[in-house]
């Protein structure tokens, strides 16, 4: 909630004026029964036409004043709500940009997306409703009671009894229903899951002839859902009839007490009517209030979830802005890495040095730590022990901007963004000329993709690159990294979807790059890395071999085994 209150400070005027105007409207409404009482007790009783007309005009006047106030209130509330959420959503987005990789992993991308969309919009509804209604409903309920007291204390005591009883009925049913709705939602989720699984797994389920069994499972879940829905419906439908009877019972008490009081001359007929009218106002407002509270609770929960994200630690930024001409581009000194959530080390005691123009191959089984190793180079994650040096400087001390300039990464998952090919490639270097883009595309073996498209570099890529094949996406992400002309290039299993011919051409192009960067190639295939200057073989986070292809074939049994399984001994 803190973040919402903070953003509301920028809309102080709106946040105060909104509820204020709303309360003014409510007070005008509360005067109506009194005016009607005057019509009856003064106008009609004294046969005073002029007075009666005046009072009716007063009613119209109250209505008009109410309209003006409530429109003003709605305007301020809407302004505060949209403004505050726009600011909040921007703050949140900016915050997410500042999170480091471990925090992003922990928070989870899908969670962050929900925070940015569903939760933000729930907060907006909450703020808007709170400013408009939170004060109004209690004000009307208690206002009606207060007014009743000004009319007649003894009759007003009926209000004092009726309001708590009605509240218990309204809130009791609502609270019970909230917990039941959760159960309904759970049952509904199970039904949805059934349908979704039967669509996503249709081939497997049909291959195993599961249709009848699945239908039985669905029937069972569907029946359970129906049963809980009917039960919930039974509870929730209690509220209207019960409150209806209660309010009428209260009215009966009122009429009776009123009659007694009128008989003894302590009250007038019109005043009894006014009390009766106040009673009818209460119920509507109580129901509104209960609904409002449910909504606000939801919004508060959303706001708290947003707060939790805003409290996450931000990525640290090093201060070193320039690097010396060290001979070694990358050095690992006894580096170990253990993820926060993991029970064991993902990398243990890794040491190696890579010269400026060397190519390094990294190979190992799934989960052996290949990606973890290369992720340490740009400082995406921090080594738990040991140090990672870039051009002689500890990576943790180097500023993000400089790291970004020195290192180009092609991630394992070939992800492109909505926009033209050019826009995507310019991510590497926003000032690159078209010739440079074409040169990068050529080296990445991606030029034919662009040449085959009618509008070339202006070809529109859909979200996630959906209108390209996996191999095309991989080649474009390689080109995007090449545009950067960085001194260190990391290819994290980024050629897996390429056929062997294309991959070998790519390898050749990489070795001929003008700026001859240090290149890291992560792969599961020995064919992709056999030409590297040296190869690091990882097994369960440990380096179990370092050397050239030929050295490793003779010295490293695991490497030999990997190679043989791929070529069936056809060395």
């Amino acid at each position: 909630m803190k973040s919402v209150f903070y953003q509301l400070k920028f809309y102080k005027k709106e946040s105060i004026l909104g509820p204020l105007f709303k309360l003014s409207e409510a007070s005008f409404e509360l005067f109506v029964p009194l005016v009607v009482a005057k019509i009856i007790d003064v106008g009609i009783k004294n046969s005073d036409r002029e007075y009666t007309v005046k009072m009716c005009l007063a009613l119209a006047g109250l209505a008009a004043a109410g309209l003006i106030c409530s429109v003003t209130a709605q305007y301020f509330a809407a302004r505060a709500a949209t403004g505050c959420t726009a600011r909040l959503s921007r703050t949140l987005f900016e915050k997410i940009q500042k999170l480091d990789f471990p925090t992003l992993d922990k928070a989870g991308i899908s969670t962050l997306i929900t925070r940015m969309t569903g939760d933000i919009s729930q907060v907006q509804t909450g703020v808007n409703l709170t400013l408009r209604l939170l004060l109004r409903s209690p004000f009307v309920v208690f206002g009606a009671m207060l007014m009743a007291f000004t009319v007649d204390v003894k009759s007003a005591l009926i209000f004092a009894v009726a309001i708590p009883l009605l509240s218990v009925a309204v809130f009791g049913v609502m609270l019970r229903c909230i917990s039941l709705y959760k159960k309904v939602q759970g049952s509904l989720d199970r039904v949805t899951l059934s349908v979704r699984e039967n669509l996503s797994g249709v081939r497997v389920l049909r291959a195993f002839n599961k249709q009848e069994e699945q239908t039985a499972v669905f029937d069972e879940r569907n029946s359970a859902l129906t049963a809980i829905q009917i039960f919930t419906g039974r509870i929730s439908s209690v509220m209207n009839p019960v409150t209806f009877v209660m309010i009428n019972a209260a009215a009966i008490c009122l009429l009776y007490t009123g009659a007694v009081r009128v008989d003894t001359g302590r009250l007038q007929t019109g005043e009894v009517v006014a009390l009766y009218n106040y009673m009818s106002q209460i119920l509507v407002e109580l129901v509104k209030l209960a609904n409002l509270i449910i909504n606000i609770t939801k919004s508060a929960a959303s706001a708290n979830r947003i707060d939790a994200i805003l409290r996450l630690p931000e990525q640290e930024n090093g201060t070193v802005e320039s690097l010396s001409d060290s001979e070694n581009a990358v050095c690992f000194n006894n580096v170990s890495l253990q993820y926060d959530t993991a029970a064991a080390q993902s990398l243990s005691d890794i040491s190696f040095c890579v010269k400026r123009d060397q190519t390094v191959g990294i190979i190992g089984a799934t989960g052996s730590g290949k990606t973890s190793l290369v992720n340490l180079i740009p400082g995406f994650y921090k080594a738990t022990n040991g140090e990672v040096l870039l051009f002689g400087e500890n990576v943790n001390n180097i500023s993000r901007a400089l790291l970004n300039e020195k290192i180009a990464v092609v991630p394992q998952h070939a992800l492109l963004f909505r926009g033209t090919v050019r826009e995507n490639l310019l991510w590497g270097n926003k000032n690159a000329a078209d010739e440079e883009l074409y040169a990068a595309l050529r080296a990445a073996q991606a030029e034919d993709i662009i040449l085959s498209k009618e509008n070339g570099l202006d070809f529109m890529i859909e979200q996630g690159g959906k209108n390209l094949s996996g191999g095309q996406r991989q080649r474009l992400t390689i080109a995007r990294a090449l545009v950067k002309k960085a001194e260190i290039m990391i290819l994290d299993d980024s050629a897996s979807a390429l056929d062997f011919v294309t991959e070998s051409k790519l390898r050749k192009a990489l070795s001929e790059l003008e700026n001859s960067p240090a290149v890291f190639i992560v792969s599961q295939r020995t064919s992709s890395i056999r030409h590297a200057d040296f190869i690091i073989v990882l097994d369960d986070g440990k380096c179990i071999g370092q050397g050239t292809h030929d050295e490793l074939l003779s010295a490293c049994p695991v490497y030999r085994e990997i190679h043989e399984t791929q070529f069936g001994g056809a060395v």
Binding site: V36, I39, I44, M55, C56, A60, A63, G66, L67, Y75, R79, A81, T82, S89, R90, I96, L112, I113, M116, T117, N128, V195, R196, N198, L199, R206, K210, T215, N222, T226, Q229, I230, G233, S237, F244, V245, N248, A251, L255, A259, D263, T264, T269, G270, V272, V273, Y276, N277, T366, F380, N404, F417, D499, F500, S504, E561, T565, Q566, G568, A570
Partner: protein, 578 residues
């Protein structure tokens, strides 16, 4: 025409509840009548409360008793209506959902492959709900609404025609005001939801690629773009929220004017007739009616939009129910097959304008291992779709043990195949349930043995609850490779006579793959097996290699003969070994 047909089908779904509806209508009528009579009784009581010493208690007491009785009866009627309504509504949805789900099981894969699954899910889950909400709950609300309007009019006319006229003439103004606002805010709302959609898409894309954004230091441009969309959204939201929130104040204003009008006319009439034609009690009663009168109007107009929605939802579900079902099943049961598979001159394409498989002929002897290789999109997976009869061939026949598969029951045909697909699929449930998918009666020992054979046992024992670990939808936290091992264990448990392995080991590193291969060769011994594989090393030992390109088998033979041919296969192989 279409609407009529939809209407008829809707009726057929709610027909079992007709008696229930009749009772509902009756009870609603009782509820409305009693609820409307209460203000009159209150008015009567007020008229008996004239002034000091002029209160007729003997008259008032029975009135108060009547009010209590009426309120209790009306309340009971209201409650019963809700209960019956619930029963009808949820019962109908249940039936509709079950029908839709059963339909799903009979739809051909061509339908399921070409329709986004999210859409089908939303038809069966959300549309069914909206249908019952809109139609059934709407129905009673509609009736109650009309009954209230007519009842109120009747009561008011009985009390006084002039004041009734005031109410009748003024009330529609508020309905029109609400309509007017709704109409004019519609475009604002669509602009808001369009902008919100744009923002959501942007957030979704950028956060999904957040690590890439950071790797390229693109945080700033990303924030700038966000600000731009966010600013647009703020503006459109402000408009939509503000203008739409005018509805309530405006209708309330009109109602208040009606109220003032009734008060004026009523009071003046009381004065001019000296309380004979119109009494103070009647005035009170009129004021209550004036307060309530507009409510049913707003409800009814709401119900109509809901009706339209409900009919649209019903149409979507019905169109699903009307989809053509898969071709008829054969009648013969295939007993445990020997594994002789003949593909005779088969042609097939998904899209009739583009030929895919053309006149494929392959004769597979029982126990042979067939490898299918070739570039992406050459028709490898399609061939498997035909073997399993997920799709029917356009021309030619596929036969197993000499019978065309069209003459066999799908169930018995598929029972003879064990299949591991490229896209691994696990259901929500325990690891054990997943392995036992094809063999629910398997004992724990058998399951563990199968898992061991598939080399899945070691990692399963490391899971928090071992074999009883509950996996989320589609495997939850397992890696792609682990999921594949579980899929393989499934087949190991069943040991069917024929196997289909579609790139089954693509996500497993080569050493683990090698281990699985050992398991597979044990499994495949003496069985017919079709293997689609990317890596040539895994298919080297096959009896027959089908080399596919652009929907045709361009070469076939074993590894040695194909290498000697120096054709397409030779090229593929060399590119890999280089």
């Amino acid at each position: 025409m279409k609407e009529k047909a939809t209407g008829k089908r809707i009726l057929s779904y709610i027909r079992p509840y007709f008696p229930l509806f009749a009772v509902c209508i009756l009870l609603s009528a009782v509820d409305v009548a009693l609820s409307l009579a209460i203000p009159i009784k209150v008015g009567n009581a007020i008229d008996l409360t004239v002034g000091k010493g002029q209160v007729d208690f003997t008259g008032i007491m029975p009135i108060l008793r009547d009010i209590l009785l009426m309120a209790v009866c009306a309340g009971a009627a209201q409650w019963l209506v809700s209960l019956l309504n619930n029963r009808a509504a949820f019962g109908t949805v249940k039936k509709l959902r079950t029908d839709a789900f059963k339909k799903l099981q009979r739809l051909p894969l061509s339908y399921l492959d070409s329709h986004p699954s999210g859409e089908t899910v939303s038809r069966i889950v959300a549309d069914a709900d909206r249908f019952s909400d809109g139609l059934l709950l709407g129905f009673t609300r509609l009736f109650t609404g009309f009954a209230t309007i007519i009842g109120t009019l009747g009561f008011m006319l009985r009390l006084h025609k002039g004041i009734t006229l005031v109410v009748v003439l003024l009330t529609p103004v508020s309905v029109f005001a609400a309509r007017y606002i709704a109409k004019h805010t519609y475009s604002m709302f669509s602009l808001q939801s369009k902008t919100r959609g744009e923002q959501t898409a942007f957030i979704d894309e950028m956060l999904t690629g957040q690590k890439v954004v950071k790797a390229f230091g693109r945080e700033k441009p990303s924030i700038e773009k966000f600000d731009e969309i966010n600013g647009k959204l703020q503006k459109s939201s402000l408009k939509a929220i503000f203008y739409s929130s005018l509805t309530n104040p405006c209708t309330r204003f009109v109602n208040s004017l009606v109220y003032a009008g009734v008060a004026l006319c009523g009071a003046l009439l009381v004065l001019s007739t000296g309380g004979k034609a119109v009494s103070v009690g009647m005035l009170t009663c009129f004021l209550s009616y004036a307060n309530q009168y507009t409510k049913p109007f707003n409800e009814i107009s709401g119900v109509f939009t809901e009706f339209q929605n409900a009919v649209a939802c019903a149409e979507r579900i019905f169109s699903l129910l009307d989809e053509k079902e898969q071709t008829a099943d054969g009648e013969k049961t295939l007993e445990r097959a020997s594994g002789r598979v003949c593909i005779d001159n088969v042609s097939f394409s998904y899209d009739k304008s583009k030929r895919l498989l053309e006149s494929i002929t392959v004769d597979v002897q029982s126990g042979q291992h067939i490898a299918i290789v070739g570039p992406t999109g050459c028709g490898k997976t399609t061939l498997i779709n035909l073997l399993m009869r997920f799709y029917d061939a356009d021309e030619g026949t596929v036969s197993v043990d000499g019978s065309s598969i069209k003459t066999l029951t799908r169930k018995s045909l598929r029972e003879n195949y064990g299949m591991v697909l490229q896209d691994t699929w696990l259901m929500c449930g325990t690891v054990k349930d997943n392995i036992a998918l094809g063999n629910p009666g398997a004992t724990e020992d058998e399951i563990i043995r199968a898992a061991k054979a598939a080399y899945a046992h070691p990692f399963i024992t490391r899971l928090p609850d071992g074999y009883n670990t509950v996996l989320g939808e589609n495997g939850g936290g397992l890696s792609e490779g682990q999921k594949q091992l579980i899929c393989i264990a499934r087949i190991m448990l069943r040991l069917p006579p024929m196997l289909i392995l579609d790139e089954a080991t693509s996500s497993i590193d080569t050493r683990t793959e090698q281990q699985i291969q050992h398991g597979f060769s044990r499994l495949m011994a003496g069985k017919t097996a079709f293997i689609v594989a990317h890596r040539l090393s895994t298919v080297k030992n096959a009896d027959l290699i089908l080399v596919m390109k652009d929907g045709n088998i361009v070469e076939q033979g074993n590894h040695e003969s194909l290498m000697q041919r120096k054709g397409f296969y030779y090229e593929l192989w060399n590119a890999q070994v280089q």
